[in-house]
């Protein structure tokens, strides 16, 4: 196994025995259920992989095998580095113990020493944002607080391979963004991250690659055929602008493409950052796939999204620019490239400022010009 590979999965299969017989594909009665069959996958250090698939497609089983919780029926997994996993919110939390005691318990379960955990304790509590309740038995915690603490433990302790199952969808938007940023940071530090989810959309913004189970073909070919081409990486984002008048929002981006181009999506993602309840994407303006075949040399384009119809609640917004390759790979993401505020003087102190009554919605017309 070469040095830059974090996880190498070879011919991995897992069979479960059922209590009742089921009819298999070839029409025979069988007690066997193959949750995974001949899975081959390689994950490099600094890679992030999303795994999706319907219920029963084996995605959780795969993660369980990687976490060492269950053994495969055949095949091997080679792993290089310390593994930290959250397969369930607060697995290993004891309800009667306090948050503080559970941090120690959980950290040790994941495989860290008391010393390592104590050294990072303040950081963990700080990240979780629940310092007020840290000496409270966790049976009194909400689901969100469980997740905050559980994720913080994993986030703050230094592992090399991170495994997350479904869990990240539990937290509130503010914490989700925090998790997202932390996962991005891990990836930039050459850690390997695997996230399992049934929600394709969430993953698309979180990880570089998404694999679907159980369709073996995709798993096998994904790495080669849909890897982000180098040139997408070298798209130069030269200038991003925002203009607004009473009735119009205009987003402009100058992008320099270096050469041949496969379809990409250009997306402005607008996040409401003025209110913690809504600190997630409130709207996206999505250019239809940009499919122009470019041949040689560099080509500069100006992408202009003019918002024709918009309802934006008063508040502050942050805009991310995303270049999405092949529908699901975030090839490039610039967070917070623009900031703008929406004010309606005559609406100050009215219900529009109530965080629960805020709404945002917009549509845009796209324009593409050669420059």
């Amino acid at each position: 196994m070469s040095n830059d590979v974090a996880i190498k999965i070879q011919n991995l299969s897992k069979k479960y025995r059922l209590q009742h017989a089921v009819t298999s594909e070839d029409g025979k009665q069988t007690h066997e259920l193959w949750a995974l069959k001949d899975i081959n996958l390689e994950i490099k250090k600094g890679d992030s992989l999303g795994i999706i698939g319907p219920n029963g497609s084996g995605k959780s089983t795969l993660l369980k095998i990687l976490a060492g919780v269950t053994k495969p029926t055949s095949g091997t997994v080679e792993m290089d580095g310390k593994v930290a996993s959250i397969l369930d919110i607060g697995a290993g939390f004891h309800p009667e113990l306090t948050g503080r005691e559970n941090v120690l318990l959980n950290g040790q379960l994941i495989g860290f020493s008391r010393k390592e955990i104590k050294a990072k304790f303040d950081q963990i509590v700080d990240f979780s944002g629940i310092e007020k309740f840290i000496d409270e038995p966790v049976k009194n915690y909400s689901n969100g607080m469980y997740l905050r603490l559980a994720f913080s433990i994993v986030a703050c302790l230094d592992a090399d391979i991170y495994l997350f199952d479904e869990v990240l969808s539990v937290g509130d938007a503010e914490f989700r963004i925090k998790c997202n940023e932390e996962i991005n940071r891990k990836i930039s530090q050459s850690k390997a991250v695997i996230i399992v989810s049934h929600d394709h959309e969430t993953l698309a913004h979180m990880v570089k690659e998404v694999v679907e189970l159980p369709s073996l073909k995709k798993v096998n070919t994904f790495n080669e055929s849909t890897k982000v081409p180098d040139y997408v990486d070298s798209i130069d984002i030269r200038n991003i602008q925002y203009e607004s008048s009473e009735t119009k929002h205009l987003f402009k981006a100058d992008l320099l493409f270096p050469g041949t181009l496969d379809p990409v999506d250009i997306v402005f993602m607008i996040r409401d950052v003025s209110n913690i309840y809504k600190r997630f994407a409130v709207s996206t303006i999505n250019a239809s796939s940009f499919e122009k075949k470019l041949t040689q040399g560099s080509h500069a384009y100006m992408f202009k999204a003019s918002v024709s119809k918009a309802i934006l609640s008063p508040g502050e917004y942050s805009v991310d620019l995303l270049i999405i390759h092949q529908k699901n790979i975030v090839a490039k993401k610039i967070t917070g490239c623009l900031q703008f505020a929406v004010n309606y003087d005559d609406l100050a102190d009215t219900l529009y400022n109530n965080p629960f009554l805020r709404a945002s919605w917009l549509t845009a017309d796209w324009e593409l010009t050669n420059i």
């Binding site: 269950t70 053994k71 095949g75 397969l87 113990l97 005691e101 040790q108």
Partner: protein
């Protein structure tokens, strides 16, 4: 980044398994602390329960058999005799019952986090030892009350305590390793613990048994162990070496049990 590992279908070798347990030894302590804390959380008596429980049992045995039935236990006061038996028996039965429950009790953990599963019953061993230390306070109290001075033989008590753990670990490992397939074994444990106190001289002496039956009791290794407790604690206690062969059989059974456990434990998370 030197932590390379390979996951495959074959179970770990016995040596690797023991190494893994050693690497996770801190977890044994953590689980034991968790149990102790959770056990006494929000109780008024707290740790007092660990004294009260054996004290009440001791009172009942002493009242019925010592006081009402006038059973004799040689030079040793009846209460002291019964308590010396209860200490070893309670340690044994606590570990067996709790150790077997520990897998189901922690099913949510073993389905989500990896560690050698033997850690769970081993943490119960530690909890049992802590409880024993608390129960020993009552023994010291009883000895002072009866003006009973132990002899030099008391220095062997720690060894006898360790030997008491062996049959407990045997029961836990064999039953644990097989019960995930043979669920009947779950029912056997409470039954064995209930019946066991009648085939072990805990609250009666071996003399009340007909001579020709005594050897039947010696087949039970717990007889030899409980008698060893008394040999340590009571200066004039004679140890009947007929009990020894059964005790010697324990060591291979114990190693065999842990080996079996190590072969089967990877399946626990699929069946729990």
């Amino acid at each position: 980044m030197s932590e390379k590992k390979i996951i495959q279908a074959q179970p770990d070798s016995f040596g690797t398994y023991l190494k893994k347990i050693w690497a996770h030894k801190a977890l044994i302590v953590t689980f034991a602390k968790r149990d102790l804390k959770a056990k006494y959380a929000q109780t008024i008596l707290g740790i007092g329960w660990s004294i009260l429980h054996p004290a009440v049992i001791l009172f009942l045995f002493t009242f019925f058999f010592g006081y009402l039935l006038h059973w004799k236990t040689g030079n040793t006061p009846f209460a002291l005799y019964v308590y010396s038996g209860l200490l070893g028996w309670n340690l044994f039965s606590y570990i067996v019952i709790q150790g077997n429950n520990s897998l189901t009790e922690s099913a949510h953990i073993i389905k989500k986090v990896y560690f050698p599963k033997l850690i769970l019953p081993l943490s119960k061993v530690l909890v049992g030892l802590v409880e024993l230390c608390i129960s020993l306070l009552l023994l010291i109290g009883l000895m002072i009350w009866y003006g009973y001075v132990p002899s030099w033989k008391i220095i062997f008590l720690p060894i006898v305590i360790l030997i008491t753990l062996i049959p407990a670990i045997i029961m836990v490992s064999w039953i644990g390793a097989l019960s995930y397939r043979i669920r009947d074994l779950f029912h056997v444990v409470p039954f064995l613990m209930y019946a066991g106190i009648w085939i072990t001289p805990v609250f009666f002496t071996m003399d009340i048994l007909p001579k020709e039956w005594q050897s039947a009791w010696s087949v039970n290794p717990m007889t030899g162990i409980i008698e060893a407790w008394r040999w340590c604690l009571f200066p004039d206690w004679k140890y009947n070496t007929d009990h020894l062969p059964a005790v010697l059989f324990l060591l291979p059974l114990c190693i065999g049990g842990i080996w079996l456990y190590s072969r089967n434990e990877s399946s626990f998370s699929d069946f729990a």
